[in-house]
C-alpha cells in the first residue's frame, strides 16, 4: 500500500478542522475591529466635547454676573462675557447638544436680569459637534456675585468667589456605541478670573 497524498477522509477532516478554527478566528477579528471602532468613536466624541467645554470654560473664566436658570430638562446658565454681552448656554435635550446664545442687541434685558422668560431674546446655536451626544448637563454656580441683583447659591459661605461646576454625560452619536450603552459622566469646575468689575474688598479685620 503506497500512498501518494491525502486520502479523502484525511482531507475532509483536515479541512473541517481548518474551517472551524478559521471561523472562530474570523469572528474574533470582527469583534476586535468593532471594539476598536467603538473606542475610536468614543475618542472623537471626547475630543469634540473637550473643545466645547474649553470654549465654555474660557468664556466663563473671563465672565461675570453668573446666574443659573432652573429648568428640569434643559439647564441653562447666563452670564456676561468679557465683551459685555449677555450669554447663555443650555442643553438641548432633544438634539442632545449644548447650545450657546448671545442676547439680541434690541433685548430689553440688563446685565442683572435672569429669568427663563427672557429666553425669547436668545437665538441658540449648537456648539457641540455632530459626533457627540450630550445626554445630561447639570450646572451649579455658586459664590459671591458682582451684581447684587443676581443671587448665586452661597456655596456654603457668603464670601466665596464665583465658581461654576459643569457635570455632563456624553456618548458618541455613533449608533454602534449607543447600542452598547456607554455613557461618560464627567465633571469640571471653573473659577471666574474677572476682577475688573469687583466692588472694593471688605476692610481687613
Amino acid at each position: 500500500m503506497k500512498k501518494q497524498g491525502f486520502t479523502l477522509i484525511e482531507l475532509i477532516v483536515a479541512f473541517g478542522l481548518f474551517a472551524i478554527v478559521i471561523s472562530i478566528a474570523a469572528g474574533g477579528f470582527v469583534q476586535i475591529i468593532r471594539s476598536y471602532r467603538v473606542a475610536a468613536a468614543l475618542m472623537s466624541a471626547n475630543d469634540s466635547m473637550a473643545l466645547t467645554i474649553e470654549q465654555m470654560a474660557r468664556e466663563m473664566r473671563t465672565g461675570y454676573n453668573f446666574c443659573e436658570i432652573a429648568d428640569s430638562t434643559e439647564p441653562k446658565i447666563q452670564f456676561v462675557n468679557a465683551n459685555n454681552e449677555v450669554v447663555r448656554y443650555k442643553l438641548n435635550s432633544s438634539d442632545r447638544a449644548i447650545e450657546r446664545a448671545v442676547s439680541d442687541i434690541s433685548a430689553p434685558i440688563g446685565f442683572n436680569s435672569c429669568s427663563n422668560a427672557d429666553d425669547q431674546w436668545f437665538n441658540y446655536q449648537k456648539i457641540t459637534a455632530a459626533n457627540v451626544a450630550v445626554t445630561k448637563l447639570n450646572i451649579v454656580a455658586c459664590g459671591n456675585n458682582i451684581d447684587p441683583g443676581i443671587f448665586l447659591n452661597p456655596c456654603g459661605s457668603l464670601t466665596t468667589w464665583p465658581r461654576i461646576t459643569l457635570a455632563f454625560s456624553i456618548t458618541s452619536a455613533e449608533p454602534e456605541v449607543e447600542r452598547l450603552g456607554i455613557s461618560i459622566d464627567a465633571q469640571t469646575t471653573i473659577s471666574a478670573r474677572n476682577i475688573a468689575e469687583l466692588p472694593a474688598p471688605a476692610p481687613a479685620p
Partner: protein, 167 residues
C-alpha cells in the same frame, strides 16, 4: 500499516498544523480582550482629566475668595494633602492614609462627583497637594487623580500649577 516511503501529509500532521494555528489565535484573543477594555480606558482618562482640572480650579477659587474677604491670600492654604470637592469653601479634610484614600462618589441623579455618601463609589481618588514656598509668595498645587482600570492596571494623572501672590 504505514510505510516509510509515504509522501504527502497525514492527519497527525494536519492536526499539528492546526494546533499551531490555535496557539497563534490565543494571542489574538489576548489582543481582543485588550481592545474590549479600551473603551473603559478612554472614558476613564477623559473623566479623570476633568476631575484633576477641577482640583486646581478649586484652589484658585479659594485663593480669590481669601482676597475677596480681605484675608491674606494664602489663608487656610497650608502644606498638606487634601480631599476637596466642588462645593468646598475651605480645604477641609486632609487625605486619609495613602492606602485607604477616599474615592470620589458619583451621584447618578444629580450627575455630580463629590464625597457625599448618597452617590455610588466612583473609581477615582483625587488628592490635592499643597506646598507653600518659604517666603509665602508662591503656592504649588498638585492635583493627582488615581484610578484602577480594567485588569487592575493603575492609572494616574498629575496636574501641577503654581499660584503667586501678585496682588
Amino acid at each position: 500499516m504505514f510505510k516509510k516511503n509515504e509522501s504527502g501529509y497525514l492527519l497527525v500532521e494536519a492536526m499539528v498544523a492546526t494546533s499551531l494555528l490555535i496557539i497563534g489565535l490565543v494571542s489574538v484573543a489576548g489582543l481582543m480582550s485588550r481592545a474590549l477594555g479600551l473603551n473603559r480606558v478612554v472614558s476613564d482618562q477623559f473623566i479623570a482629566n476633568y476631575l484633576a482640572v477641577e482640583g486646581i480650579e478649586i484652589i484658585k477659587n479659594l485663593i480669590e475668595a481669601n482676597i475677596l474677604a480681605g484675608l491674606p491670600w494664602n489663608n487656610g492654604i497650608s502644606d498638606n494633602c487634601y480631599e476637596v470637592n466642588y462645593e468646598s469653601v475651605n480645604l477641609g479634610a486632609t487625605c486619609s492614609s495613602s492606602e485607604s484614600q477616599l474615592a470620589l462618589s458619583f451621584n447618578s441623579i444629580t450627575g455630580f462627583y463629590n464625597y457625599d455618601s448618597s452617590g455610588n463609589q466612583a473609581p477615582f481618588i483625587r488628592s490635592i497637594l499643597i506646598e507653600n514656598s518659604s517666603d509665602g509668595n508662591r503656592i504649588k498645587v498638585n492635583s493627582v487623580v488615581k484610578w484602577i482600570s480594567r485588569g487592575s492596571v493603575e492609572f494616574s494623572i498629575n496636574l501641577e500649577d503654581y499660584f503667586f501672590n501678585y496682588r
